[in-house]
Symmetry: C2
DNA sequence: GTTTTGTTATAGTATATATAGAACAAAAAG
DNA sequence: CTTTTTGTTCTATATATACTATAACAAAAC
């Protein structure tokens, strides 16, 4: 079930994008599955249609879903990460890892943290 | 040397914050060292004083520097990460790790990526 | 005593986030 | 075939964020 926190400082369209990604990571959604229509999901969540639409297009730009006109938003996760995609991901990881280094975290400590978070994602 | 990219989509105050954190991670700046005054750095970079000020306060909120009135911005990195700080970091890592999982990255693959990025930070 | 410091205040512009409502063409559903 | 649903596009509004500009202040540094 997708939910949002209106009080969060994280924009709604990013909250939604993140939740959908986690649902896929968990296996609750798989390649071929479709997301609800923008109007239906917006109605459920009590937010504007355009906000949901923006979430979906976030996922389109990440090549995680494909919006097939008049059919729906279909999940299209193909395994494997291109070098271009890896560069984008690295740019996002970089400031977080810099902070970890500043705080004196050792690589083992960080690897454990990563493992813990990944397990949390899978278990929620 | 601190620089900014005016074309970047990353806000200037975050670019600066990130660069300063990387300088500390690299060892170019250490506990006790002081950053230039907000006016001096703003002049060097060709940006507004308030933008640099915002960067510094980003680091204050992360407890990485301390602004001693009329003395300067002093680096105060004490090793060790509180549980509260760990929770904040986890919240930032989480969506990135979800995306990695969606793309089918295995934990080994991710650990290698993390190591690579950390080495890049240290070597720049 | 002059300069430099971080801070605070006001003001303006530009962009980002979110909402609202309307209209469109085409596919799906009845 | 007709109705409904679909994503898309457009206009409009409100609020928040990012950045700049300028001014003023009190206190430490010189």
């Amino acid at each position: 079930m997708l939910t949002i926190d209106p009080e969060s400082t994280v924009p709604i369209y990013l909250q939604l994008r993140n939740e959908i990604m986690e649902a896929i990571a968990r296996g609750d959604l798989s390649t071929g599955d479709t997301l609800p229509s923008v109007r239906a999901l917006a109605g459920d969540l009590g937010v504007n249609m355009h906000t949901v639409n923006k979430s979906y297009h976030e996922l389109v730009s990440k090549e995680i879903i494909e919006i097939v006109p008049k059919k729906g938003a279909v999940i299209i996760v193909d395994e494997g990460v291109s070098n271009q995609r890896l560069a984008l991901m690295s740019a996002e990881f970089r400031p977080l890892l810099a902070e970890a280094l500043v705080r004196g975290m050792k690589e083992e400590e960080l690897q454990r943290l990563i493992t813990t978070i990944m397990n949390n994602i899978k278990e929620d």
